[in-house]
Protein backbone atom coordinates (compact mmCIF):
# COMPACT_ATOMS: atom_id res chain seq x y z
CA UNK A 1 0.00 0.00 0.00
CA UNK A 2 1.25 3.43 -0.70
CA UNK A 3 0.25 6.98 -1.38
CA UNK A 4 1.20 8.52 -4.68
CA UNK A 5 2.03 12.03 -3.46
CA UNK A 6 2.71 11.47 0.20
CA UNK A 7 6.26 10.32 0.93
CA UNK A 8 6.86 8.48 4.17
CA UNK A 9 9.88 6.64 5.46
CA UNK A 10 7.93 3.60 6.66
CA UNK A 11 6.89 1.62 3.59
CA UNK A 12 5.06 -0.91 5.75
CA UNK A 13 2.83 1.80 7.17
CA UNK A 14 2.10 4.41 4.51
CA UNK A 15 0.10 6.60 6.89
CA UNK A 16 2.89 6.76 9.46
CA UNK A 17 3.94 10.29 10.34
CA UNK A 18 7.22 9.53 12.07
CA UNK A 19 8.76 11.46 9.19
CA UNK A 20 6.89 12.22 6.02
CA UNK A 21 6.31 14.72 3.26
CA UNK A 22 2.60 15.27 2.96
CA UNK A 23 0.73 15.58 -0.29
CA UNK A 24 0.52 19.36 0.24
CA UNK A 25 4.34 19.50 0.65
CA UNK A 26 4.29 19.93 4.43
CA UNK A 27 7.17 18.09 6.08
CA UNK A 28 5.91 16.51 9.29
CA UNK A 29 7.33 14.41 12.06
CA UNK A 30 5.81 13.05 15.21
CA UNK A 31 9.21 12.79 16.84
CA UNK A 32 9.25 14.11 20.39
CA UNK A 33 13.02 14.20 20.62
CA UNK A 34 14.64 16.77 18.36
CA UNK A 35 15.42 17.80 14.84
CA UNK A 36 19.18 17.72 14.41
CA UNK A 37 20.37 20.42 12.05
CA UNK A 38 23.27 19.96 9.67
CA UNK A 39 26.37 21.06 11.56
CA UNK A 40 29.68 22.33 10.26
CA UNK A 41 32.30 25.02 10.42
CA UNK A 42 31.96 28.41 8.79
CA UNK A 43 34.13 27.08 6.00
CA UNK A 44 31.58 24.33 5.39
CA UNK A 45 28.85 26.76 4.42
CA UNK A 46 27.39 26.03 0.97
CA UNK A 47 29.12 27.85 -1.83
CA UNK A 48 25.86 29.06 -3.33
CA UNK A 49 23.47 29.59 -0.40
CA UNK A 50 19.82 30.39 -0.89
CA UNK A 51 17.38 32.11 1.43
CA UNK A 52 16.09 29.89 4.19
CA UNK A 53 19.04 27.53 4.47
CA UNK A 54 19.49 26.63 8.12
CA UNK A 55 22.42 24.99 9.84
CA UNK A 56 24.46 24.89 13.02
CA UNK A 57 27.75 26.74 12.79
CA UNK A 58 30.32 24.87 14.86
CA UNK A 59 32.80 27.71 14.48
CA UNK A 60 30.48 30.33 15.93
CA UNK A 61 28.68 27.81 18.15
CA UNK A 62 25.29 29.12 17.06
CA UNK A 63 22.52 28.14 14.71
CA UNK A 64 22.26 30.30 11.66
CA UNK A 65 19.93 30.93 8.77
CA UNK A 66 20.70 32.40 5.39
CA UNK A 67 18.71 35.51 4.53
CA UNK A 68 19.96 37.97 1.97
CA UNK A 69 16.59 39.47 1.10
CA UNK A 70 15.12 42.63 2.56
CA UNK A 71 17.22 43.74 5.52
CA UNK A 72 18.93 40.35 5.64
CA UNK A 73 22.69 40.30 5.69
CA UNK A 74 23.43 36.77 4.54
CA UNK A 75 24.20 34.16 7.19
CA UNK A 76 22.58 35.40 10.38
CA UNK A 77 22.47 33.87 13.81
CA UNK A 78 19.10 32.58 14.88
CA UNK A 79 18.38 34.73 17.87
CA UNK A 80 17.46 33.23 21.20
CA UNK A 81 16.20 34.84 24.34
CA UNK A 82 19.70 35.09 25.75
CA UNK A 83 20.34 38.45 27.30
CA UNK A 84 22.66 40.67 25.34
CA UNK A 85 25.71 42.07 27.05
CA UNK A 86 25.82 45.86 26.90
CA UNK A 87 29.50 46.61 26.53
CA UNK A 88 31.33 49.93 26.90
CA UNK A 89 34.15 50.63 24.49
CA UNK A 90 36.60 53.48 24.77
CA UNK A 91 37.39 55.26 21.54
CA UNK A 92 40.14 57.43 22.99
CA UNK A 93 40.45 61.09 23.82
CA UNK A 94 39.20 63.99 21.81
CA UNK A 95 41.81 66.53 20.76
CA UNK A 96 39.89 69.48 19.36
CA UNK A 97 40.87 68.23 15.90
CA UNK A 98 39.47 64.78 15.20
CA UNK A 99 35.86 64.14 14.38
CA UNK A 100 36.32 60.48 13.49
CA UNK A 101 36.55 57.75 16.14
CA UNK A 102 36.59 53.99 15.91
CA UNK A 103 36.38 51.34 14.77
CA UNK A 104 33.58 49.94 16.89
CA UNK A 105 34.04 46.46 18.34
CA UNK A 106 31.63 45.13 15.74
CA UNK A 107 29.85 46.47 12.73
CA UNK A 108 26.59 48.29 13.32
CA UNK A 109 24.22 49.33 10.56
CA UNK A 110 25.18 52.86 9.59
CA UNK A 111 21.50 53.67 9.17
CA UNK A 112 20.89 53.00 12.87
CA UNK A 113 23.17 55.35 14.83
CA UNK A 114 20.65 55.26 17.67
CA UNK A 115 21.68 51.65 18.28
CA UNK A 116 24.99 52.90 19.67
CA UNK A 117 24.99 55.16 22.72
CA UNK A 118 27.82 57.65 22.36
CA UNK A 119 29.22 59.75 25.20
CA UNK A 120 31.88 62.45 25.32
CA UNK A 121 32.99 62.42 28.92
CA UNK A 122 29.64 62.21 30.69
CA UNK A 123 27.61 63.95 28.01
CA UNK A 124 25.23 61.88 25.93
CA UNK A 125 25.45 62.54 22.21
CA UNK A 126 22.30 62.74 20.13
CA UNK A 127 22.23 60.38 17.15
CA UNK A 128 22.31 62.07 13.75
CA UNK A 129 22.43 65.51 15.39
CA UNK A 130 25.81 65.05 17.06
CA UNK A 131 27.19 62.06 15.23
CA UNK A 132 26.63 59.54 12.48
CA UNK A 133 27.90 56.08 11.86
CA UNK A 134 29.96 55.53 8.74
CA UNK A 135 31.43 52.43 7.18
CA UNK A 136 35.20 52.11 7.21
CA UNK A 137 35.39 51.39 3.51
CA UNK A 138 34.12 54.91 2.85
CA UNK A 139 36.91 56.53 4.87
CA UNK A 140 39.81 57.87 2.87
CA UNK A 141 41.91 61.02 3.11
CA UNK A 142 45.00 62.41 1.46
CA UNK A 143 47.73 63.92 3.62
CA UNK A 144 51.26 65.01 2.83
CA UNK A 145 54.59 64.51 4.52
CA UNK A 146 56.36 67.64 5.69
CA UNK A 147 59.68 65.90 6.16
CA UNK A 148 61.21 63.73 3.50
CA UNK A 149 60.76 60.01 3.98
CA UNK A 150 63.71 57.69 3.78
CA UNK A 151 63.88 53.96 3.30
CA UNK A 152 63.49 52.29 6.70
CA UNK A 153 61.72 55.19 8.40
CA UNK A 154 59.21 53.98 11.00
CA UNK A 155 57.78 57.45 11.60
CA UNK A 156 56.52 60.11 9.25
CA UNK A 157 55.85 63.76 9.89
CA UNK A 158 52.73 64.93 8.14
CA UNK A 159 50.88 68.15 7.56
CA UNK A 160 47.80 67.12 9.50
CA UNK A 161 46.65 64.37 11.82
CA UNK A 162 43.04 65.36 11.53
CA UNK A 163 41.08 62.12 11.39
CA UNK A 164 44.27 60.11 10.96
CA UNK A 165 43.65 57.06 13.11
CA UNK A 166 45.61 54.08 14.31
CA UNK A 167 44.85 51.09 12.15
CA UNK A 168 44.45 52.98 8.91
CA UNK A 169 46.28 51.75 5.86
CA UNK A 170 48.75 54.17 4.33
CA UNK A 171 49.66 54.09 0.67
CA UNK A 172 51.52 56.24 -1.82
CA UNK A 173 52.73 55.92 -5.36
CA UNK A 174 55.83 54.19 -3.98
CA UNK A 175 57.79 53.72 -0.81
CA UNK A 176 55.32 51.67 1.21
CA UNK A 177 54.75 47.95 1.33
CA UNK A 178 51.22 46.75 0.74
CA UNK A 179 49.29 46.68 3.99
CA UNK A 180 51.37 49.29 5.78
CA UNK A 181 49.31 50.59 8.69
CA UNK A 182 49.45 53.46 11.10
CA UNK A 183 50.51 52.31 14.55
CA UNK A 184 50.64 55.60 16.45
CA UNK A 185 49.52 59.19 16.06
CA UNK A 186 51.05 62.14 17.87
CA UNK A 187 48.78 65.08 17.24
CA UNK A 188 51.14 67.54 18.94
CA UNK A 189 54.13 66.80 16.74
CA UNK A 190 52.09 65.48 13.81
CA UNK A 191 54.28 62.40 13.72
CA UNK A 192 52.72 59.07 12.86
CA UNK A 193 54.23 55.65 13.30
CA UNK A 194 53.93 53.06 10.57
CA UNK A 195 54.46 49.34 10.30
CA UNK A 196 56.28 47.99 8.40
CA UNK A 197 58.80 50.77 7.92
CA UNK A 198 59.01 52.69 4.68
CA UNK A 199 60.50 50.68 1.85
CA UNK A 200 61.57 53.65 -0.21
CA UNK A 201 62.08 57.38 -0.17
CA UNK A 202 59.54 60.11 -0.75
CA UNK A 203 60.20 63.80 -1.04
CA UNK A 204 58.37 66.45 0.97
CA UNK A 205 54.82 67.04 -0.17
CA UNK A 206 54.14 63.55 -1.42
CA UNK A 207 50.47 62.63 -1.37
CA UNK A 208 49.83 59.87 1.15
CA UNK A 209 46.44 58.20 1.20
CA UNK A 210 45.16 56.91 4.52
CA UNK A 211 42.09 54.74 4.54
CA UNK A 212 40.13 52.01 6.22
CA UNK A 213 38.70 49.06 4.36
CA UNK A 214 36.35 47.79 7.05
CA UNK A 215 34.78 48.58 10.38
CA UNK A 216 32.17 51.03 11.59
CA UNK A 217 33.13 54.46 12.87
CA UNK A 218 31.58 57.33 14.80
CA UNK A 219 31.70 60.52 12.78
CA UNK A 220 30.97 63.56 14.96
CA UNK A 221 29.46 66.60 13.36
CA UNK A 222 31.99 68.83 15.13
CA UNK A 223 35.39 68.58 16.73
CA UNK A 224 35.57 66.76 20.02
CA UNK A 225 37.11 68.40 23.09
CA UNK A 226 39.87 66.71 25.07
CA UNK A 227 37.50 64.39 26.81
CA UNK A 228 37.08 60.64 26.81
CA UNK A 229 34.91 59.31 24.00
CA UNK A 230 33.19 56.04 24.66
CA UNK A 231 30.28 54.08 23.32
CA UNK A 232 27.89 51.53 24.74
CA UNK A 233 27.29 48.62 22.39
CA UNK A 234 24.80 45.83 22.51
CA UNK A 235 21.49 47.65 22.53
CA UNK A 236 20.77 46.25 19.09
CA UNK A 237 20.88 42.75 20.56
CA UNK A 238 23.75 41.68 18.35
CA UNK A 239 26.69 41.62 20.70
CA UNK A 240 28.99 39.79 20.22
CA UNK A 241 29.20 40.14 16.42
CA UNK A 242 26.39 38.64 14.46
CA UNK A 243 28.41 36.64 12.00
Amino acid sequence: MRFIKRLGLNRKDPANNRFAVQADDRIVTTSKVSLQLPSGATSDRPATPVNGMTRYNSTLNDSEVYNISGSGAGWEKIKTNRQTTVTPQSLGLGNYVNTLFGPLSYDVSTSKPQNVLVFVDNVYQIPTTNYALIAGNTISAVIQNTVSINNGDATITVNTTSNVLIGETITAASGFAAGTTITSVNTATRVIGISPSATGGNSIGTNLTVSFSSGTFVQFTGIVPAKQVFVLLGFDGYYPPNS
Binding site: M1, R2, F3, I4, K5, R6, P14, A15, Q22, A23, D24
Partner: protein, 103 residues
Protein backbone atom coordinates in the same frame (compact mmCIF):
# COMPACT_ATOMS: atom_id res chain seq x y z
CA UNK B 1 -8.97 -8.66 -17.07
CA UNK B 2 -10.75 -5.42 -16.53
CA UNK B 3 -11.00 -2.22 -14.62
CA UNK B 4 -14.06 -1.36 -12.57
CA UNK B 5 -14.43 2.21 -11.37
CA UNK B 6 -16.88 3.89 -9.06
CA UNK B 7 -17.21 6.79 -6.64
CA UNK B 8 -17.75 5.78 -3.03
CA UNK B 9 -20.81 7.33 -1.44
CA UNK B 10 -20.69 9.01 1.94
CA UNK B 11 -24.05 7.98 3.31
CA UNK B 12 -23.91 4.29 2.55
CA UNK B 13 -21.46 1.66 1.44
CA UNK B 14 -20.92 1.37 -2.26
CA UNK B 15 -20.13 -1.87 -3.99
CA UNK B 16 -16.96 -1.15 -5.85
CA UNK B 17 -16.40 -4.64 -7.26
CA UNK B 18 -18.39 -7.85 -7.73
CA UNK B 19 -16.52 -10.98 -8.75
CA UNK B 20 -17.89 -12.87 -11.67
CA UNK B 21 -16.31 -16.29 -11.39
CA UNK B 22 -12.92 -16.63 -9.76
CA UNK B 23 -11.02 -13.40 -10.04
CA UNK B 24 -7.83 -11.91 -8.63
CA UNK B 25 -7.61 -8.26 -7.65
CA UNK B 26 -4.23 -6.96 -8.73
CA UNK B 27 -4.57 -3.33 -7.80
CA UNK B 28 -7.07 -0.99 -6.23
CA UNK B 29 -6.48 2.72 -6.71
CA UNK B 30 -8.31 5.22 -4.54
CA UNK B 31 -8.18 8.83 -5.72
CA UNK B 32 -9.44 11.91 -3.94
CA UNK B 33 -10.45 13.98 -6.92
CA UNK B 34 -11.44 17.03 -4.87
CA UNK B 35 -9.01 19.92 -4.80
CA UNK B 36 -9.59 20.95 -1.19
CA UNK B 37 -11.41 18.32 0.87
CA UNK B 38 -9.61 15.65 2.85
CA UNK B 39 -11.75 12.53 3.23
CA UNK B 40 -11.44 9.17 4.94
CA UNK B 41 -12.64 5.87 3.57
CA UNK B 42 -13.30 2.29 4.62
CA UNK B 43 -13.16 -0.84 2.46
CA UNK B 44 -14.74 -4.21 3.09
CA UNK B 45 -14.06 -7.58 1.44
CA UNK B 46 -17.31 -9.46 1.67
CA UNK B 47 -17.72 -13.10 0.72
CA UNK B 48 -20.70 -14.13 -1.31
CA UNK B 49 -23.73 -14.09 0.95
CA UNK B 50 -21.93 -12.09 3.64
CA UNK B 51 -22.59 -8.58 4.87
CA UNK B 52 -20.64 -5.40 5.34
CA UNK B 53 -19.44 -5.34 8.93
CA UNK B 54 -16.33 -4.85 10.99
CA UNK B 55 -15.66 -8.56 10.46
CA UNK B 56 -15.17 -7.96 6.75
CA UNK B 57 -13.39 -4.65 6.95
CA UNK B 58 -9.92 -4.51 5.40
CA UNK B 59 -9.23 -0.73 5.42
CA UNK B 60 -10.39 1.54 8.23
CA UNK B 61 -10.53 5.33 8.19
CA UNK B 62 -7.72 5.79 5.69
CA UNK B 63 -7.20 9.53 5.39
CA UNK B 64 -6.83 10.71 1.83
CA UNK B 65 -5.86 14.39 1.45
CA UNK B 66 -7.23 16.42 -1.41
CA UNK B 67 -5.79 15.38 -4.78
CA UNK B 68 -3.92 12.45 -3.16
CA UNK B 69 -4.05 8.88 -4.46
CA UNK B 70 -3.77 5.71 -2.41
CA UNK B 71 -2.69 2.51 -4.14
CA UNK B 72 -3.37 -0.94 -2.74
CA UNK B 73 -1.17 -3.09 -4.92
CA UNK B 74 0.95 -5.14 -2.56
CA UNK B 75 -1.80 -7.28 -1.14
CA UNK B 76 -3.58 -9.46 -3.70
CA UNK B 77 -7.16 -10.56 -3.15
CA UNK B 78 -8.61 -13.73 -4.64
CA UNK B 79 -12.36 -13.54 -5.05
CA UNK B 80 -14.79 -16.32 -5.85
CA UNK B 81 -17.97 -15.83 -7.79
CA UNK B 82 -20.23 -13.45 -5.89
CA UNK B 83 -17.55 -12.13 -3.57
CA UNK B 84 -17.49 -8.33 -3.52
CA UNK B 85 -15.59 -5.29 -2.38
CA UNK B 86 -17.51 -2.49 -0.72
CA UNK B 87 -16.39 0.98 0.24
CA UNK B 88 -17.59 4.14 1.91
CA UNK B 89 -15.98 7.55 2.24
CA UNK B 90 -16.64 10.38 4.68
CA UNK B 91 -17.27 12.70 1.73
CA UNK B 92 -18.16 11.48 -1.71
CA UNK B 93 -14.96 12.62 -3.33
CA UNK B 94 -13.04 9.34 -3.62
CA UNK B 95 -13.08 7.13 -6.65
CA UNK B 96 -12.09 3.48 -6.50
CA UNK B 97 -10.63 1.79 -9.55
CA UNK B 98 -10.28 -1.98 -9.27
CA UNK B 99 -8.03 -3.87 -11.64
CA UNK B 100 -8.94 -7.54 -11.78
CA UNK B 101 -8.06 -10.62 -13.74
CA UNK B 102 -9.99 -13.85 -14.17
CA UNK B 103 -8.29 -16.98 -12.94
Amino acid sequence: MAITSSVMASTTTTRIFLASGDQAITTIIFCNFDSSITATFDVYAVASGGVVSTATQILKSVSLPATETFVMDTEKLILANGDALWGQSSVSVISASVSSVGI
